[in-house]
Amino acid sequence: MVPTSYFVLLSAALFIIGVLGVVVRRNALVVFMSVELMLNAANLALVAFAQRWASANGQIIVFFVITVAAAEVAVGLALLVAIFRNKRTTDIDEISTLKG
């Protein structure tokens, strides 16, 4: 058995990478991908604990997370398309009309 801590550490690392991606990258698509990465990191942690405690609960939650992620991506990409149509750019720094 692989020790659960390895999985959790990997999950944490993936999560942090995702967070950094959201905060640092300017391309909107990359930000979305980073968000997906964060969600998948959470999924990994859930599955790891499901295996550890031999419970199916963790895996059921993963189902929910994946569904939510999918719905969220649909909405997010629709927003991105709408913004791109307006601004002709995916650079999120350009969308600063709430400034001030």
Binding site: V19, V22, V23, V24, R26, I92, D93, I95, S96, T97, L98, K99, G100
Partner: protein, 676 residues
């Protein structure tokens, strides 16, 4: 006839009605003049009727039971123990004052019809004249200090309004700004009023009442007790002033009243408003600043004489102030070249005589002089008004001369007035002034000498004035073409001239060999007032031959000297715009006399300028920069800066928001993790 007591309420009601009509409804000059004069004439007639009613009231012949009418209109203030009725007192003292006010007032109103003809605002003038008479009547008819004070303030207000009648003129001869003169009069009066108010507080707190005499306003036995009869009962009560020692209650009250008197009756140190008050129309000067308002201070002291009888320290001060004012103002009157300013300083001087008489306890003499002075000073002022009109609004005596030929009626009446003022027998001024001098000789030799000196100067400046105005040759175009005034203005002069001759006979002294029945008429009439409970009895003095002869000779001599100097000796050196020739001989002394020894200059430097400086500082620095700048604009700017600072966080960048979100999440989780 006591059921006719209500008639005293009509006396002030007529002029009040006249004021209301003129202020609210009347637009034309003719109607205004007739209504105003009619109101005061009616008031005069009512006064005569009221005197008849008063005389018919009971009271034994000894005069120990004081008879008076005290007609209460309603209970004005009733707060616990503090009860003040709106009561109109009509006793012997009020009666003679009311006669003067309404009688001379009527003549002045009638005269004004002629004088104010052609003015820009005649209706306003007549309205305020009537309001003044109303206020003055409330002053002398008030049966308590509060109603008296209402009238006191009222006459001060009307004085302000009437002095500033030509408020839109930048300056009137001899260079006074009417608006400023009006403010000066009011402010000087105000200082006195502060003393009056404090005196009223002291009277109430020590005696429990502001009423002069006992009165039962509602007729139900709840009497408001008068304080005058209690004056001797305070014993040696003293007020503790901490480190300043202590002062007797009576002394304190009378000092405070004296402050009020110096303001209203133009004594040292508050007399400075009266010469400038000549900026008002001449009838105003005659009525307010000669016959009535300025005498209210003397009336106040005589009315509350029981207080003064019990405060000998204050009486000394009153005498000192009176005699110094009399002499100082007389010196100032000698050096004026404006005809009305001479009379103004003369009034201040004569008021000094009256105040000095009060200081000696010679109350009847003071009232006697008040009455005679009211008549002949009004005559002189109205005469000067006639001269000013005849000289086409010129008031400078250096431009006049020889007017006895072109204005004969004014000349003869003015001569009568001048002789009366100088105290030449048998005119009115002789009797009243001599009575004061006789009392002075008994009371305080120094005071007598000072007052005699003032009398000598009085005769001198009147002689000087007569010479400059009526004798000699005209010195100006206007004087050559002067015209006499019309009958509306001349008849009051005639009547007042007759009055100046006769009114002296109301208080003839004993010792002249005259039949007993005509002596001391005023004394006897006023007897009940000065023998009311609490009074200290004063004896009427017999005629003092020595004083009378000496002062009359001195007066005749100095009067003749004044005439001779300015008619013959230096007449050729008097020119419009040039200094009086006496300046050459007396130099700085003459300058000092001209400016009344620098009171105005001192007040200007010591009070007016610092006050204006403080006001300017407060308005342009403290208010504009301090309050507006720091507090108002400053707080606005502060919030602006804060808002700008907060606004820095609203970058509009999604990534910044995400970062903040992240930091918050870390913070919360960290808190939960670390607090286990």
């Amino acid at each position: 006839m006591s059921d006719l007591n209500w008639i005293v309420a009509l006396i002030p009601a007529f002029p009040l009605l006249g004021f209301l009509l003129n202020a609210l409804f009347i637009r034309r000059e003719r109607a205004a003049g007739l209504i105003a004069s009619g109101a005061v004439v009616l008031s005069f007639i009512t006064t005569l009727v009221a005197i008849a009613v008063l005389a018919s009231l009971g009271g034994d012949a000894e005069g120990s039971h004081a008879t008076r009418i005290d007609f209460v209109l309603w209970e004005w203030i009733s707060i616990g123990d503090f009860r003040v009725p709106f009561g109109l007192l009509f006793d012997q003292l009020t009666a003679v004052m009311a006669l003067l006010v309404t009688g001379v007032g009527s003549l002045i109103h009638i005269y004004s019809i002629g004088y104010i003809h052609g003015d820009e605002r005649p209706v306003r003038f007549f309205a305020y004249l009537n309001l003044f008479i109303t206020a003055m009547l409330f002053l002398i008819m008030g049966d308590n200090m509060l109603l008296l004070f209402l009238g006191w303030e009222g006459v001060g207000l009307c004085s302000f309004l009437l002095i500033g009648h030509w408020f839109d003129r930048r300056s009137v001869p001899p260079g006074i700004v009417p608006g400023e003169a009006a403010v000066k009069a009011f402010v000087a009066n105000r200082v006195g009023d502060a003393g009056m108010l404090l005196a009223m507080f002291a009277i109430f707190s020590n005696f429990g009442s502001l009423n002069f005499y006992d009165v039962d306003p509602a007729g139900d036995g709840r009497i408001i007790y008068g304080f005058l009869s209690q004056a001797a009962n305070l014993g040696g009560a003293r007020i503790d002033l901490g480190i300043l020692g202590s002062i007797g209650v009576m002394t304190a009250i009378t000092y405070l009243l004296l402050i009020g008197v110096t303001g209203k009756s133009a004594q040292i140190p508050l007399f400075v408003w009266l010469p400038d008050a000549m900026a008002g129309p001449t009838p105003v000067s005659a009525l307010i600043h000669a016959a009535t308002m300025v005498t209210s201070g003397v009336y106040l002291m005589v009315r509350t004489h029981t207080l003064f009888d019990n405060a000998p320290t204050t009486q000394g001060w009153i005498l000192a102030i009176g005699m110094c004012t009399a002499l100082l103002a007389a010196t100032a009157a000698v050096a004026q070249f404006d005809i009305k300013r001479v009379l103004a300083y003369s009034t201040v001087s004569q008021l000094g005589f009256m105040v000095a008489a009060v200081g000696m306890g010679a109350y009847v003499a003071a009232i006697f002089h008040l009455l005679t002075h009211g008549v002949f000073k009004a005559l002189l002022f109205l005469g000067s008004g006639s001269l000013i009109h005849g000289m086409h609004e010129n008031q400078d005596m250096r431009k006049m001369g020889g007017l006895r030929h072109t204005m004969p009626q004014t000349y003869w009446t003015y001569l009568v007035g001048a002789l009366a003022l100088a105290g030449i027998v048998p005119l009115a001024g002789f009797w009243s002034k001599d009575e004061i001098l006789a009392h002075a000789w008994e009371a305080n030799k120094l005071a007598a000498v000072v007052l005699i000196a003032a009398s000598v100067l009085t005769a001198f400046y009147m002689g000087r004035q007569m010479a400059l105005v009526f004798y000699g040759k005209p010195r100006d175009h206007a004087a050559e073409h002067a015209h006499e005034s019309g009958p509306v203005m001349l008849w009051p002069l005639f009547i007042l001239a007759v009055g100046s001759v006769l009114v002296g006979f109301i208080n003839l002294p004993s010792g002249l060999g005259l039949p007993h029945g005509v002596l001391h008429l005023l004394d006897e009439w006023l007897h009940p007032v000065f023998t009311s409970p609490g009074s200290v009895p004063h004896e009427a003095l017999p005629f003092n031959w020595a004083i009378a002869i000496v002062t009359t000779l001195l007066a005749v001599g100095s009067g003749w000297l004044g005439v001779w100097l300015y008619k013959d000796k230096v007449a050729s050196r008097i020119k419009p715009g040039k200094d009086d020739p006496a300046h050459y001989y007396l130099g700085d002394i003459w300058r000092g006399m001209e400016i009344a020894w620098g009171f105005d200059w001192f007040y200007d430097r010591a009070i007016v300028r610092p006050y204006r400086a403080v006001a300017n500082f407060l308005s342009s620095v403290f208010d504009a920069q301090g309050i507006d700048g720091v507090l108002v604009d400053g707080s606005a700017r502060l919030f602006g800066r804060l808002a700008q600072w907060f606004r820095l966080s609203q970058t509009g960048y999604v990534r910044n928001y995400a970062l903040v979100f992240l930091v918050g999440v870390i913070g919360v989780i960290g808190y939960f993790v670390l607090s286990r």
